[in-house]
Amino acid sequence: MIFDFANYDQLIPLVTNSLIAAALLGLVGGLIGIFVMTRDMSFAVHGVSELSFAGASIALLLGADVVAGSIAGSLVAALIIGVLGSRAKDRNSIIAVLMPFGLGLGILALSLYPGRASNKFGLLTGQIVSVNGTSLEWLAGIAILVILSLVIIWRPLSFASLDPEVAAARGVKTGALSVIFLVLLGLAVAASVQVVGALLVLSLLVTPAAAALRVTSSPKLAPVLSVAFALTSSVGGILLALGGGLPISPYITSISFAIYLVCRLVAYARKVRK
């Protein structure tokens, strides 16, 4: 049976932490996704998430904190991309080089890890186990930091993403902003890896924003819709997973993909009507 909601009211309290984590991730993913799209960095998200996976796996092997390892991996990737890949073409090749290296490193660390096998692949494809108190504190800290920073740099970052040369001429520190953005992206990726897994991070950090930008070009409505889509996917995914007995990730990715499809259809319908 795919769905069984018989004991639903008793299950909810057990996943409160996971729900809070998912909501925070939805907020972060929806907001930062707008800039991932406008700065054309979907591929970077994927690359950073593989190194984040490597960091988390190595931390698991060494008995260190997995979230801290995941953040360390993300930040290393973000800084490498930030320093070496200021031009789009360089950036893509650097990411393509980093990505398999990170994945391989992570798999190596996991194979050497003597612990239970079911936990291992959680880092790649998402955790079934509920988020515990400590990792929720980490996630909340990261989420608040990323959201506040994004609100502060929103306007100059929009300007720099649209027309870097014009923004720089007007005194916007475009170089510093792109490094700051990559660090924030690294943090957001590290947080998402904890819940959806490294391979599926794109479903929270890219798909909701991509869907929103299909249906609106308003700078106010786009982040609102993107956050709403990301929240629906992340929180909705967990609620459905409770009744399903399958991992959280397939629910999150399916909802997020379905929203994207609907948005494409809406955009198409509008175009035809014109």
Binding site: T38, D40, V151, R155, L162, A169, R170, P223
Partner: protein, 260 residues
């Protein structure tokens, strides 16, 4: 704005040497020259993004480090990705508030200013259109608006008319002319074709072969002046108010190819 004794070279090749240039408020200067003669690099040097080998550049007595709010900038036309979440009027808003961090506290005043510029560039009908859907000419109209909205003392334009048809070129050039007169902003206009802006140009700065000539169009755009500059035979032909520069073989081998 003043440029004093500025020199810049790439390796052995001098882009320009001992360049002296004083621009008065409200003055319109066209920067001409072949590709690789250092036109765009001059703009970068003014913005403080390109270090000079020697010399100084300052605006109102002060050097510029990393751009300035005293400067408006109009880039070359490039189409904007259709998924960019900005409306045409947001281009203007960014010109006014794009450098500000955090949340806006002067939204009403800024909106009034945006409305004013929308009127100037005849952009009310387009204001709510996504910028990814604007035509080249429409986009450049808003870029002129963006450059003047914060009332800069100096407007730098880097080939803003390229890729536009002649009718659109005229609209953009006239708009820029009118706006700089209204705000008495100086304009430094990089272009490879002086004709669309000939009627509004006060002086021409012609860069070639690591040297330069500056003066009114009539003083600089002459066969003997450009021949001397290029060190080869150049014909400057005037035809129905247009200036056509006809080179011999010199254009086939210009500095750009030596260091690219």
């Amino acid at each position: 704005m003043s440029v004093k004794n500025a020199s810049l070279s790439f390796g052995e090749k001098a882009l320009w040497q001992n360049l002296d240039l004083e621009i008065a408020p409200g003055e319109f200067i066209a920067v001409l020259g072949t590709n690789g003669s250092g036109k765009t690099t001059l703009l970068k040097a003014i913005l403080g993004q390109q270090k000079l080998d020697s010399g100084k550049i300052s605006i109102a007595g002060k050097p510029i480090k990393h751009g300035s709010r005293n400067i408006g900038y109009i880039p070359q036309h490039r189409s904007v990705d259709s998924s960019t979440p900005l409306l045409a009027r947001d281009l203007l808003t960014l010109g006014l508030t794009g450098h500000r961090y955090g949340i806006s506290f002067s939204a009403r005043k800024d909106r009034a200013r945006v409305e004013h510029i929308l009127g100037c560039i005849n952009g009310f009908d387009l204001a709510r259109k996504p910028i990814g859907e604007l035509s080249g000419g429409e986009l450049q109209r808003f870029r002129v608006g963006q450059a003047v909205i914060d009332e800069p003392d100096l407007i730098l334009a880097d080939e803003p008319l390229s890729a536009l048809d002649p009718a659109q070129q005229k609209i953009i050039a006239d708009l820029l002319d009118q706006e700089r007169k209204e705000h008495s902003a100086a304009v430094l206009f990089v272009t490879h074709d002086v004709n669309p802006i000939l009627s509004m140009v006060d002086r021409v700065l012609y860069l070639a072969n690591g040297q330069y000539r500056i003066g009114t169009p009539d003083e600089v755009m002459r066969s003997e002046v450009l021949s001397e500059l290029y060190e080869t035979e150049i014909d400057v032909v005037r035809n129905q108010g247009r200036i056509v520069v006809v080179g011999s073989h010199s254009h086939e081998h210009h500095p750009e190819e030596d260091w690219k």
